[in-house]
């Protein structure tokens, strides 16, 4: 197991309440409820593979420190719910990561292009077809990561077994379905 390599840069001069409030609004979480016990970092399955631990994300969010927007952790949270299940203060760090990644994208500070591609391609796919087409998603992500060969041993047999069909299903009522995306345009930052 590796350490979380501390990659926070910059200095603390003051608290950026503007960013702090925006994170609170987007995530629906009360940042000051967190007293930084570290239980989220302790249980987080992915934290040991990231740059900063979840409780550091929480601390930087409390400070409204912009460096958090450049972290990899906020993109690679897998939403497994371990942190919120065990948090003594009923805070959900996963929701904070989610909010931060949205702000990070807006500010052009994305650290994990592949994670961004995963969620964007995923949503694009369902927007266009109503359902996910796994093969398309995998190919698009391979394009994003440039790593074409690592999963061929898994993918080719699956493809041959017909478990990754070329043609996918499209829902009938796509017109109304698409409205669900438009209706929320304001919230889509």
């Amino acid at each position: 197991m590796r350490g979380y390599s501390m990659k926070v840069s910059g200095q603390l001069r003051s608290i950026n309440t503007h960013l702090k409030r925006e994170i609170e609004k987007l995530s629906g979480q009360k940042l000051d409820a967190c007293y930084l016990c570290g239980k989220c970092s302790a249980g987080c399955p992915v934290a040991p593979y990231q740059d900063i631990a979840p409780h550091v994300v929480m601390r930087l969010a409390q400070l409204g420190h912009k460096s958090v927007l450049e972290s990899k952790m906020i993109w690679n949270c897998v939403s497994c719910g371990t942190c919120v299940t065990r948090c003594p203060n009923n805070v959900d760090p996963a929701k904070v990561c989610e909010a931060l990644s949205r702000i990070s994208k807006r500010e052009g500070l994305v650290n994990s292009k592949v994670a961004l591609a995963l969620r964007e391609k995923f949503v694009d796919l369902i927007k266009n077809r109503g359902r996910v087409h796994e093969l398309t998603l995998v190919i698009q992500l391979k394009m994003a990561s440039g790593d074409w060969f690592s999963d061929l041993d898994v993918g080719i047999p699956m493809f041959l077994q017909g478990r990754l069909p070329i043609s996918g299903h499209r829902i009938k009522d796509l017109k109304n379905f698409k409205k669900l995306f438009e209706g929320n345009k304001e919230g889509n930052k």
């Binding site: 992915v46 719910g81 299940t85 369902i126 109503g130 999963d151 209706g183 929320n184 930052k189």
Partner: protein, 342 residues
């Protein structure tokens, strides 16, 4: 016959067909009708949620609206059932999401449906005795590690099912199917879900930890309940053996495939591999033999006990008789003496 709305989800259409067919077969056999939600769409999964929570709730909510004419929804995929449950909580109160749905022509009646994962539905069926008499070939002796993963029981406020740290429902289901659930440490540890496509190294590390825990608990097979978990756990085991310290390969199947096997359903609907079917048979024979041996040993012990009891009783009887004899002798000699004295 009770009818449920059935929400297969995108994976069950493609990569996880055997989950789809086995769920349908098992529920059909116990008299539960699954009516597919008409023209269902993707639940949004955690990815849509990360882009926009409201949009995610709206597209999941569409399925709830479509299902409300049928009834409670069974969504086998853990990720789908979680997304639908989360959306339902949003939709229970009159908010912007319900309005967006109405504008797009979908109406959800609050409280009209409740969302169940396949494990929840199967557990309810076990509790209400629907499986009674249906287990024709129990999975005797088969050591099953039930893998719940994250979203089946977490976060507890949304899942509202079983214990988030030590769930037992799937273990109970496996017991019902005649199998032996094993106690193991990684029941609810995360497999990394779609992040296999983002960070392979991380995900394979997580998965090999889970598999090794099951191996350590000496499980024959892992029972899963989510297509994403299945993809991560079942594939690439050879790679993990080489580079991630996986101790041995271990088969991973959907829990409904195992129930189906216990119910003697046609394997064309279950899609279990021959190796596993063979293993199930072997374990069953072993268990039957072991039970037979146990029964015989017990009988032998009973017989030995009975024999000891008899021997002891006879000994006691003999001792008693000897004593009686002695005392009568004493008595007679006593009278004799007295007579002599007199």
């Amino acid at each position: 016959m009770k009818t449920y709305a059935y929400y297969p989800g995108c994976s069950l259409e493609a990569s996880s067909r055997e989950y789809d067919t086995s769920v349908r077969a098992v529920f059909n056999k116990i008299g539960i009708e699954l009516k597919e939600v008409p023209d269902w769409s993707c639940c949004g999964s955690s990815q849509a949620h990360k882009i926009d929570g409201d949009m995610a709730a709206a597209i999941a909510g569409r399925n709830l609206a479509l299902a409300s004419s049928i009834g409670d929804i069974i969504a086998p995929c853990a990720s789908c059932s979680m997304s639908l449950k989360e959306a339902q909580i949003e939709l229970e109160h009159d908010g912007p999401i319900r309005r967006v749905l109405v504008e797009a022509g979908y109406e959800y009646l609050p409280g009209s449906v409740s969302v169940l994962s396949a494990v929840e539905a199967a557990y309810q069926a076990v509790e209400s005795g629907l499986f009674e008499g249906k287990i024709s070939s129990p999975l005797l002796g088969l050591k099953v590690a039930s893998y719940y993963g994250c979203l089946l029981v977490r976060p507890p406020k949304i899942a509202q099912f079983d214990d988030p740290e030590n769930p037992v429902s799937m273990d109970r289901i496996m017991e019902m199917a005649g199998a032996k659930p094993v106690e193991w440490s990684h029941k609810v540890d995360c497999c990394g879900n779609a992040y296999i496509l983002v960070d392979r190294n991380m995900t394979l590390n997580l998965v090999s930890n889970i598999l090794n825990a099951a191996v350590k608990a000496d499980a024959d097979v892992i029972a899963a309940a989510c297509p994403l978990c299945m993809q991560n756990l079942a594939e690439r085991q050879a790679q993990m053996q080489q580079r991630y310290g996986l101790k041995r390969k271990i088969p991973v199947v959907y829990f409904t495939q195992l129930i189906g096997a216990a119910m003697g359903l046609d394997n064309r609907m279950l899609g279990l591999k021959d190796d596993l079917l063979k293993l199930i048979d072997i374990r069953r024979q072993e268990e039957i033999a072991a039970r037979e041996a146990g029964r015989k040993a017990k009988e032998a012990e009973e017989r030995a006990k009975e024999a000891r009891r008899k021997a002891a009783a006879e000994k006691e009887k003999a001792a008693k008789e000897a004593k009686e004899k002695e005392s009568t002798e004493k008595e007679s000699s006593g009278t004799k003496e007295a007579g002599e004295a007199g």
